[in-house]
Amino acid sequence: NNRRTVKAPTERPGELRQAEMKRLYGDGAPKILAMETAVQLSFDKHCDRKHPKYWPVIPLKF
């Protein structure tokens, strides 16, 4: 049973996110979610391909 409670929520983050988006953006939520997903996908694609390194190596400000 314990194991199930750990394993089961595989779909929950998406649902939680949708609910959160709905709360924040109301009827605009699907559009914002679609735009955010596109922005994030583009970022992931670049990083997977190019493996950029941070510049500067050490943060200027924390």
């Binding site: 605009g28 955010e36 922005v39 583009s42 970022f43 941070y54 510049w55 200027l60 400000k61």
Partner: protein
């Protein structure tokens, strides 16, 4: 609180939806401004008086990192780099 401003459910709802509409409009315009920056030459002003220019590529969802290429740093060019948003004060580009 203003006296006599008794909130009825309808009033609350419209307040909430007004807020949601404002948030969505602001966010959409911001995301579109990021998309308009893709491929452009961008000048970044970083903390500690550091200035760099680069071609903007992408940013992550929480806008915590900027992926750029051809980053011109004070010590040379880095082909690909990630800039931390926390290091940045401002950025400028011509759309």
């Amino acid at each position: 609180e203003a006296p006599g401003s008794q909130e009825c459910p309808v009033g609350q709802q419209s307040q909430e939806s007004r807020e949601q509409r404002a948030r969505a409009a602001l966010r959409e315009r911001y995301l579109r401004s990021l998309l308009a920056m893709v491929g452009r030459q961008v000048r970044f002003t970083l903390h500690e008086g550091v200035h760099v220019t680069a071609h903007f590529g992408a940013t992550d969802l929480d806008v915590a990192n900027f992926y750029v290429s051809q980053l011109q740093t004070p010590i040379g060019i880095q082909a690909e780099a990630l800039l931390r948003c926390s290091d940045i004060i401002s950025y400028t580009f011509e759309p």
